[in-house]
Amino acid sequence: MATFSLLVTANPHSSQGQFSAIQFAKTLLHQGHVIKRVFFYADGVLVASRLNCPPSDEYNLTKTWAKLAITHDFELTACVTVAMKRGIINATEADRNALTGENIDPAFEISGLGQLTEAMLESDRLVTFG
């Protein structure tokens, strides 16, 4: 049994990377490995918005990540610097920056790149999907 962390930088709306990352995550969990954390960076953070609203006949990446993380007890972390730029905001940041609302899906958290560094150091493998 190995511990994985994933770094996901792919834009959920314009590339395949998030789908690949989810498929990879499901496969490794099925094999009995564990995930410590999935860290979202660059356009990857866009998947953390709870307002993502794909047509009903398309896969909801946000909800799929959320369900997977809750079922298998791992963390979904979006990088604060790039998330804020792209309008992915939690309640704390909304308050701190005098914004009118938050939009992060409750299964995700916003944090710093230190969480990526920690994931790298505490996992057997880090795989990037961009």
């Binding site: 770094l7 610097t81 710093g112 790149l113 230190g114 990526l116 560094t117 790298m120």
Partner: protein, 119 residues
């Protein structure tokens, strides 16, 4: 033993955020005692040109931040001489932040790093 991280810049600046956001990773990972190298290959060598003025397009000039790599403890900054030559760029057009290197040495750095990031 501290882990090592290689960051590969292979895209020209401003048409995308790749250089800017890789630079952010480099500076922040530097705070966590990782041994970091910054490698410039392919069109990534254009990141290091002097006289960049994206300000005229209201874009932030991240190129001057490369000059701070050393202050952040990132001392291995390599640029591929083959890729410079292929693009008819002389080293004199680059900011004095990188060491001229070659594919062989850059590949060795990639091979020996514990983690490698691109964007």
């Amino acid at each position: 033993m501290s882990k090592s991280l290689a960051i590969i810049f292979n895209k020209a600046p401003y048409g995308n955020q790749s250089g800017r956001e890789l630079l952010d990773i480099a500076l922040m990972a530097a705070a966590f005692d990782m041994e970091i190298s910054a490698l410039f290959i392919g069109d990534g060598v254009y990141q290091l040109l002097t006289n960049q003025q994206p300000d005229i397009l209201h874009m932030k000039n991240h190129s001057s931040t490369y000059k701070a790599l050393e202050l952040y403890g990132i001392e291995t900054v390599l640029v591929s001489s083959e890729d410079l030559e292929q693009r008819r760029l002389s080293e004199s057009r680059l900011m004095p932040v990188s060491s001229l290197s070659n594919h062989k040495q850059i590949n060795k750095t990639i091979a020996e790093s514990d983690f490698v990031f691109m964007l």
